[in-house]
């Protein structure tokens, strides 16, 4: 009885992990399946990976997604960092909570609001509009993470730098950025993933011309099951695990959640 009690929680955890990974394992296994349908193992084949590599549409979508994600990372980090540096611990500190709404607002509402605004002012939807939207979404993560980290910094280091004759800009570049680097990298990775995987904002703001990877996957799923998606997902999973490894190693240094 005692043994059972002790094993209850580990067993439970095992079941939850099985539940979490079963679909992912199935996804990977069926990416190497010979036939597309039905869901039955018919032998090993790399056919779908070949098809994936040869598809120009997919790589075009990947390119678009990369452009959007990298731009969102760059814009949100540069603007977010300067914003935090020049407002945190000053009398302007009260404006920081302006950015906290981004996280608690349902994304679909932001998406349709942007769409309504863009169409009303005849701003063309597309990659640029999507970058604008993703940068806003990214602020919701970047600003709180950097603000929290900045509050934890030993402020006397910054004061020492200023006392020793460094200008505010020099202090910013040579003291604050290196100190915040782990937080910047972690926030950047998080923003990249969120932007790269985002379907909702893209669905509303990317228009018909710009195809991002999630939009492409959505179209594929709606038309029916194709193991090319499995092959693509498997590749993406490998890439994400590298990202998560870096992220986890940084997470011990900074507190993200």
């Amino acid at each position: 009885m005692n043994f059972l009690k002790k094993m209850a929680l580990p067993m439970f955890v095992f079941l939850v992990f099985a539940f979490l990974y079963l679909p992912i394992i199935v996804l990977i296994v069926f990416s190497c399946n010979k036939i597309a349908f039905p869901y039955r193992w018919a032998g090993f084949s790399l056919e779908w990976y070949r098809e994936l590599l040869e598809s120009t549409e997919i790589w075009h979508a990947v390119k678009n997604s990369l452009i959007v994600a990298l731009s969102a990372v760059f814009l949100s980090l540069t603007m977010g960092l300067t914003f935090i540096f020049y407002t945190a611990r000053t009398k302007y500190e009260k404006v920081i909570p302006f950015f906290y709404g981004n996280l608690v607002f349902p994304e679909i509402i932001l998406a349709v609001s942007l769409l309504a605004l863009f169409t009303f002012f005849a701003i063309p939807t597309g990659l640029l509009a999507l970058i604008a939207a993703h940068t806003v979404l990214a602020f919701g993560f970047v600003v709180p993470i950097l603000a929290a980290r900045f509050q934890e910094l030993d402020y006397s280091i910054i004061e020492a730098s200023l006392d020793l004759g460094a200008s505010l800009n020099q202090t910013f570049i040579r003291i604050v950025i290196p100190l915040l680097l782990p937080a910047l990298v972690a926030a950047g990775l998080l923003v990249f993933v969120i932007s790269f995987d985002d379907f909702l904002l893209a669905f509303f703001c990317a228009g018909t011309s710009a195809q991002t990877l999630p939009l492409y996957i959505f179209a594929l799923i709606r038309t029916g099951i194709s193991p090319v998606i499995n092959a693509l997902s498997t590749l993406l999973l490998v890439v994400s695990s590298v990202g998560v490894l870096i992220f986890c190693s940084l997470k011990s240094k900074i507190r993200i959640f």
Binding site: F12, V95, S252
Partner: protein, 282 residues
């Protein structure tokens, strides 16, 4: 820092206003117009006084509530288990929790097709072992939506729970036991109140996006059920009636915030002492 450097903080603020607050405000303004007359009208809201809309909002609330509750009930013991592990093992567990969260949501949803579909793995397994004779309808229903919602939102619940549980002082459990509390009393009176900030954060992080969820019902719900997210997208993309759509968007977000507000007050009432406990802990 002097006043003149404040302008360097302006780009972020400007961006935030241009692409967050102004669009939201714009939708509020749209909801009070009808596109033909230039004046203020409540027509769009009047149209919403129909039980159809009420039931859609209610259905979304139920979905969000069930998802968040399920994630909490499963996520809490899991986060507790991981938080008590040794550092190296903890990182391994965390890695495997975060990985699905970093995987495309569409891909995860799609993965469930293989399991839940009519000819999917679960049905063939059940038929092979003779539990059922006919394949069960596992997809395109509320059940499938719930499974996939839970699956996709679980990491959002675990992360905030984990970060409060990690800081939890285990001596408090000992103290509680020494003072004569049984396991459930310790859980209810000590562990849960102290970890309440994480529970609240996790619940909010799941409840709010789940209320507006649009992709999962679309893909695995089989177009059977209308949710808030689905209806909003219909208004703006298919129906192109952005005035009525705006009114519905505004009203449903008001409902959402009122519900969140009252739930947090209720939780505060249920665990009134958590703040005092935290203060004495410090």
């Amino acid at each position: 820092m002097n006043n003149s450097s404040f302008f360097k903080a302006v780009p972020a603020l400007l961006w935030q206003f241009l692409f967050f607050y102004i669009p939201l405000l714009f939708v509020v303004v749209l909801s009070f117009t009808d596109g033909t007359t230039s004046g203020f009208t409540l027509k769009n809201y009047a149209l919403l006084f129909d039980s159809v809309y009420g039931s859609i909002v209610l259905r979304s609330l139920i979905l969000a509530f069930l998802t968040a509750t399920l994630c909490l009930l499963i996520g809490y013991p899991l986060a507790y288990f991981i938080a008590l592990k040794k550092r190296s093992l903890k990182n391994v567990f965390l890695f495997f929790i975060i990985l699905p969260f970093w995987t495309n949501l569409l891909v995860l949803t799609y993965a469930w097709f293989f399991i839940l579909d009519r000819d999917g793995l679960l049905n063939s397994l059940l038929m092979n072992i003779g539990v059922i004779n006919e394949p069960l309808a596992l997809i395109n229903n509320f059940f499938a939506i719930m499974i996939v919602m839970f699956y996709c939102y679980l990491p959002f619940m675990i992360m905030p729970l984990f970060s409060v549980l990690e800081k939890f002082d285990l001596n408090l459990i000992e103290a509680s036991k020494d003072l004569g509390a049984n396991q459930w009393q310790t859980l209810w009176n000590v562990i849960i109140p102290i970890t309440m900030p994480g529970i609240k954060a996790g619940f909010l992080l799941v409840f709010v996006p789940a209320f507006g969820e649009f992709v999962i019902p679309l893909l695995v719900g089989g177009d059977k059920y209308m949710f808030v997210g689905t209806l909003i997208s219909h208004y703006f993309l298919i129906g192109q009636n952005k005035f009525a759509g705006s009114a519905f968007t505004v009203l449903s977000s008001c409902v959402l915030f009122v519900v969140v507000f009252f739930v947090s007050i209720f939780v505060q009432k249920l665990f009134p002492s958590h703040r005092e406990i935290r203060e004495t802990e410090l």
